[in-house]
């Protein structure tokens, strides 16, 4: 949707596209962003972009590929905190932290840009609108982690799994990585288990239930979601937390910079929240049919 008019040789990067959802970028801002992504490297799968306990180095921006952010206990138990997709930033505030409290590891070949942490401070001083947009992106990430916390704390294995699949579907469609309800999930069941706080065996059981019920299909790393609505219902998925609603007007208005657009909310998507009253036992019964 919010596609900016092409400006010279600048290609819109995922980060740019992401921020465009919340801000109408000026040419100057676009150039600054492009400049941040000037130094690019390619990393193979299973590379640590960051290691828990180590000192931070540069700030990085994922331009292509998948990675995971994860934390480990001394005895090896591990929790995947989030999936890192194109447009996501690693170590944004690293200049303020002594050392990393989590690791980031690639799942696929990945293209990353990196730049010196000081440039963040520079951005806060010279491009306050960009800084605000990035801070916003960080808040959105926290919302995702909080929702996963709700999953691990209060959803059953089946619900959690369904919920995660719908979340990924939604997040990936925003960056055009979903076609026809199927997408590539470059992930072993072990990683899924670590993301959902389950054992490998139980993830396997749970996926089979979902497959048997016809809600999803799996062949290799390609997953097809046959019935998003029902899958979302199984997972008690309410996309409120993803804050996907695009509102570039909103920040514009707060900053009141280019034009003073008025508060017409016509373009706002309206999702209704499924409010079923449920009794405690038989949480997974949406699948029992």
């Amino acid at each position: 949707m919010t596609r900016a008019p092409a400006s010279r040789a600048l290609d819109p990067t995922p980060l740019w596209l992401k921020l465009s959802n919340y801000l109408i970028l000026s040419d100057e801002e676009k150039m600054y962003l492009a400049d941040l992504e000037r130094t690019i490297a390619r990393e193979p799968p299973r590379t640590d972009l960051l290691q828990q306990g180590e000192r931070y180095r540069d700030v990085r921006i994922i331009r292509d590929g998948w990675a995971i952010r994860h934390k480990a206990l001394p005895d090896g138990r591990r929790q995947v905190v989030n999936f890192v997709l194109p447009g996501d930033i690693i170590g944004m505030y690293c200049m303020l932290f002594e050392s990393a409290d989590h690791s980031v590891t690639t799942l696929t070949p990945v293209e990353v840009a990196s730049f010196a942490p000081e440039r963040i401070a520079e951005m806060f001083q010279s491009f306050p609108r960009l800084a605000a947009a990035l801070a916003w992106a960080g808040a959105r990430e926290e919302a995702i982690v909080a929702e996963r916390l709700l999953s691990l704390g209060r959803r059953t294995a089946l619900e959690r799994t369904a919920h995660l699949l719908v979340e990924l579907l939604r997040r990936l469609s925003v960056v055009n990585m979903v076609t026809d309800g199927h997408f590539v999930l470059p992930v072993t069941q072990e990683i899924l288990a670590d993301a959902l706080g389950l054992s490998i065996v139980h993830i396997n059981r749970t996926l089979r239930r979902l497959r048997d019920s016809g809600l999803i299909e799996l062949n290799g790393q390609r997953i097809t979601v046959n019935d998003v609505r029902q899958l979302a219902s199984v997972g008690q998925f309410d996309e409120l937390y993803l804050h996907l609603i695009r509102a570039p007007r909103r920040l514009e208005r707060a900053f009141s910079v280019p034009r003073h657009q008025n508060g017409n909310h016509a373009d706002r998507a309206h999702q209704e929240r499924a409010h079923q009253d449920r009794t405690h036992p038989d949480r997974d019964d949406r699948l029992k049919a």
Copy 2:
């Protein structure tokens, strides 16, 4: 430590103290902060400062008292995402979000300041250093939530509980709310259960184990931690994620504003991380003695 020279009639608020750990505030910045906290209200316990699904209103700063941030499923299951303590901010980026994906409810009588969301945008433009410091505070909060995710996903009930208690101890001592290893925990077991993803009954069992082992004592809402080291060991607590190390120099240097302090790291605390190799079964055996 980093106590700013008293500047006229301005009282240091918790937020101010918090930010002082990471930035040497100028008088002008202090005044701006004080101005943000000009409109103050008092709320009784069990008041919703924010309700999931509702539209955001003002940005709020907790000046005194406890609150919880929590999310609920349609059927009533609930997860406490975090505890909100003095100096914490509610709805910082609300101008960017359509509606709240979580609730905030007071646990004690609370004193809150509130101001219009636009002032955040204003701050990004006029006080970039403050904006950066606040963004940092947000990142720290995310780190806390991520650590709790690790707890729910991969720690046993006993470990989780111990971990949370140590975390609260640490966070509260930063704001001088701990004396002699004891502090007030204005929380029912139900809330503890919702924070740790456990049932009330099981929290009760777990607290009793901790009490029986002599690690903690409970009388009413006062909790005494008798052996922090061992409690931390039971909870596999590694305070890295709290990012407590005070480094006002760090941001200063990045912004290179008042004086250009050099990179002398003499004041940096050094905690070593306990790296015990543990075998999978008997995770809770640190208590079995």
